[in-house]
């Protein structure tokens, strides 16, 4: 029974905590900084554990869920501000996750992500001017603005360095600054070391260039990888469907990002490994999308005192049920407008950082209140860790928005 509980706990952790935001930010940080920021993952995991333990303890002893508590402690005005900010953040996250599910399904089945096969999306991007900064490895210099989504002639690109001579350089790319992507080999596994389907493609999938993902690979990628990609474009984008030609393979042509997720023909282990990875991502992001939908309904239910809880039949908690349904529909509409899920995830993460100190503080105060919590109030260790992490998230919240604006969403 204990083993089953542990297994259930792991499943919950994966379903509840690993979502599209983690995949996006971890991958971006990994592609830019390698293992230099791995300590952040460890530190934030401890932070989540502290927060989770305190939330559970308060809910069990004081019988007050977080948003109920927040309203009681912060008052109506500040409580409403926090609720609205949290709602928007969750809504954007939910939209990003629904988009993420669509992306993974596209990779698995080869079906178009949007009903119109992405034509409208490409049309939208064709006219979108992206002011990117092109960074040379030898010397930093600003680059010309680049039209995203417009097919560019190869001759317009400045010559690339080293092994990347044959292909257009990445413009405005975080990947231009990748120090050593080969370090990622640890994550890729043995199949990846044989040069089959590296996790690097996952980095492309969630990478900085988003819509431009298909045309430019990481700068340090071997040139033969590109030739292989072009050759493998003759395969189906789906591991389950028969082979078909989907990419011209011409020099300077822009295969879609999904076409980069290729499998070397005849390599079953790579195919099954990649399918497993994609299925894992599908379940993680799908589960997180459901959780985020429900989270918004929980917030509303707790803040306004409705009957709530997913275990309740819909007619017993009608406002709660209608809320999560409405959140799902609105999030779906956001995705259908054609906005990039990865971009949404970035906005969602920034919004959630801004709101975190407001949701964390009432919990921290109540967890340390001996009137409510009695013997279960925060001890020395919980208090130290709790306030330490609170100081950390306040600094992060204060720095998040200026950094986001100054770096153009982390592109510089």
């Amino acid at each position: 029974l204990k083993l089953a509980e542990i297994f259930l706990g792991i499943l919950t952790a994966v379903g509840g905590f690993v979502d599209v935001s983690e995949l996006v930010f971890m991958s971006q940080a990994g592609s830019r900084f390698g293992y230099a920021l791995i300590w952040v993952v460890v530190l934030s995991t401890i932070g989540i554990m502290v927060f989770g333990e305190m939330s559970g303890r308060v809910a069990a002893i004081a019988k007050q869920p977080v948003f109920n508590l927040m309203r009681n402690r912060l008052g109506l005005r500040l409580g409403l501000i926090t609720l609205i900010a949290s709602f928007i953040s969750n809504l954007i996250t939910c939209a990003a996750e629904i988009g993420g599910v669509a992306l993974v399904l596209q990779l698995l089945t080869g079906a178009p992500m949007r009903a119109d096969g992405g034509r409208r999306h490409r049309r939208l991007h064709r006219h979108r001017l992206v002011h990117a900064v092109q960074v040379d490895r030898a010397k930093l210099r600003p680059a010309r603005p680049v039209h995203a989504g417009v097919r560019r002639r190869p001759r317009r690109h400045p010559p690339a360095l080293g092994r990347d001579r044959r292909r257009p350089r990445a413009a405005g790319s975080a990947r231009t600054l990748q120090p050593r992507p080969d370090r990622l080999r640890l994550f890729r596994g043995r199949a990846a070391q044989r040069g089959d389907v590296p996790l690097r493609d996952l980095f492309l999938f969630v990478g900085r260039d988003r819509g431009r993902m298909g045309s430019q690979g990481p700068r340090n990628q071997p040139a033969d990888h590109h030739r292989r990609l072009r050759r493998s474009a003759r395969c189906s984008p789906s591991p389950f469907s028969p082979a078909r030609r989907s990419c011209s393979g011409r020099p300077g042509s822009r295969p879609r990002w999904s076409e980069r997720w290729r499998f070397r023909p005849g390599c079953r282990s790579a195919r099954s490994g990649s399918c497993s990875r994609l299925l894992g991502m599908l379940f993680a992001i799908g589960g997180a999308a459901i959780e985020t939908c429900l989270a918004n309904a929980y917030s509303l239910g707790q803040f306004f005192g409705w009957r709530w809880g997913r275990h309740r039949p819909p007619r017993e908690a009608p406002r709660f049920t209608l809320s999560w349904m409405a959140v799902f529909v609105v999030a779906l509409i956001i995705v259908l407008t054609g906005v990039e899920p990865v971009e949404l995830a970035e906005y969602a993460v920034v919004a959630s950082i801004l709101v975190l100190p407001l949701t964390y503080l009432p919990l921290l105060l109540l967890a340390g209140d001996r009137t409510y919590m009695r013997v279960h109030a925060n001890g020395l260790l919980s208090k130290t860790l709790g306030w330490g992490f609170y100081a950390l998230i306040v600094v992060a919240a204060l720095a998040a928005l200026p950094l986001f604006l100054l770096t153009s969403g982390g592109q510089l």
């Binding site: 007050q64 005192g305 007619r315 009608p318 406002r319 049920t321 209608l322």
Partner: protein
């Protein structure tokens, strides 16, 4: 804390969850109505539940927005229907009897018949 005991109204009661006789959530204490005469004792008359109770607590523009989204209705629950106050406010009647089941009933109409 018993309903008859002295308590800090704003800190201890306002913005607390209300639970009915059957332990069902039925709203939040949005405001408190007091009754009294000059020179006489001040007594709690009722709990005000619903967006109409925000009017004294939010600025005018915010109240207009709330009114546009959720309406301005408010239900007054007489204080004698309060059983006690812990981390929630316990009522001694069912939510329907206190007039706190209307919004749920309206929302229920949007859902299919079974579930």
């Amino acid at each position: 804390v018993k309903a008859s005991a002295s308590l800090k109204l704003v800190a201890d009661v306002r913005d607390l969850q209300i639970v009915d006789r059957d332990e069902r959530n039925c709203g939040i204490v949005d405001d408190i109505e007091l009754a009294g005469k000059p020179g006489g004792p001040l007594e709690v008359a009722a709990l005000v539940v619903g967006p109409g109770g925000y009017s004294a607590r939010l600025p005018g523009w915010a109240m207009r927005l709330v009114g546009w989204i959720a309406g301005r209705s408010a239900v007054k629950v007489p204080w004698d229907k309060v059983e006690g106050v812990t981390s929630v406010v316990h009522l001694n009647v069912a939510a329907g009897e206190a007039g706190l089941a209307r919004a749920e009933a309206r929302a229920r109409r949007w859902l299919p018949g079974r579930g």
